[in-house]
């Protein structure tokens, strides 16, 4: 028996993601899925951003990692509720793990939930977690051609953070060229070039989050 179908391969994941999105919407929560390579600076970006949101948005962070609770500890040190999601070797977060974890958060007391994905530019781009905003995090240490090499993430992103801008004098990274590659895939996403380490140029990014 032959069956012609047109079935999205990620239907199972996407159905759970839709449940997460509905639940968050019901509580008026916006969630942000941070995707970037290993060591791009996702946790450092959160460490720089969360204090600027204090008093304006009630935040929490889900920290996806293959192993260790280091990143959740770094967030908890700021006084922001953090939950470590361990994938036990899995290279990306899936909607099921996020759906189960998010229900353990005090949803009625939150406005903005960040999900830091496992450091990886490839696999996480395939998986909707039910977030309202997908953010690609790329650092100047990784090379300006990364959007051309990992197009799916940059196509999907609602915003791109170009971080470690303070390293520009030490690396050969052409910001204009990088933006050109991003614009081949995505004309609309705002691009925030900043340094999470020095705190330079964080304002536009924070404003975007406040209005998300």
């Amino acid at each position: 028996m032959n069956v012609e179908v047109m079935r999205n391969v990620f239907a199972r994941n996407d159905a759970l993601a839709a449940d997460t999105r509905a639940l968050l919407t019901q509580y008026g929560i916006v969630s942000v899925n941070l995707i970037g390579g290993a060591g791009a600076g996702k946790t450092t970006l959160l460490e720089a951003t969360l204090p600027k949101l204090a008093g304006r948005k009630r935040t929490a962070v889900l920290e996806g990692d293959i192993a260790t609770t280091h990143d959740a500890e770094r967030i908890a040190a700021l006084g922001v509720p953090a939950m470590q999601l361990l994938t036990d070797g899995g290279c990306h977060l899936g909607a099921a793990l996020v759906y189960n974890s998010i229900q353990k958060l005090p949803l009625a007391e939150l406005d903005l939930v960040f999900i830091e994905n496992v450091g990886n530019l490839v696999c996480p781009a395939n998986f909707d977690l039910g977030e309202q905003r997908t953010v690609a995090v790329l650092s100047t240490a990784e090379g300006d051609d990364k959007p051309a090499k990992y197009p799916l993430l940059f196509k999907r992103a609602n915003a791109v953070v170009l971080t470690k801008l303070d390293l520009l004098p030490h690396v050969s990274f052409d910001v204009e060229q990088c933006i050109r590659y991003i614009r081949q895939l995505n004309e609309a996403a705002p691009i925030f070039a900043l340094s999470a380490k020095t705190g330079d140029s964080l304002d536009d990014w924070v404003t975007w989050l406040l209005s998300a």
Binding site: N2, E4, N8, F10, A11, H92, P151
Partner: protein, 118 residues
């Protein structure tokens, strides 16, 4: 090796189809992969074989069809469908291009073994 995480989802999708039709097992399946997914067909086929063990899709034959994106040049206006991943206009080499489509990942056809055919 992102093919493995995709293979796991593909197995779930095809087993879902098989169950819906009360099939005994999956014989063949075909999927369409947009070039932007950067899937190596041979690797997806190997990963699928492993991920399908002990499911209704064990031993099923997978065919992978790669779908190119459409590249529209904002400078010379050319519209092309390069088979390889492109970062410049194949006609005028401009980088000022818009890449559209090529991000689909669909299960398009399934051949099932069902009881009443025996």
């Amino acid at each position: 090796m992102h093919e493995f995480s995709i293979a796991t989802e593909l197995v779930a999708a095809v087993v879902g189809e098989a169950e819906r039709h009360g099939a005994r097992r999956v014989e063949r399946l075909e999927c369409q992969c947009g070039a932007m997914r950067q899937i190596v067909p041979a690797m997806l086929i190997d990963a699928f074989e492993l991920a399908a063990v002990d499911t209704l899709a064990e031993g099923a034959q997978l065919t992978v069809k790669t779908v190119p994106p459409t590249v529209r040049c904002r400078d010379c206006g050319a519209e092309t469908q390069p088979t390889d991943w492109a970062v410049e206009c194949p006609r005028c080499t401009s980088l000022n291009i818009a890449v559209e489509g090529g991000d689909e990942l669909l299960l398009t056809s399934v051949t099932l073994e069902v009881d009443d055919e025996r």
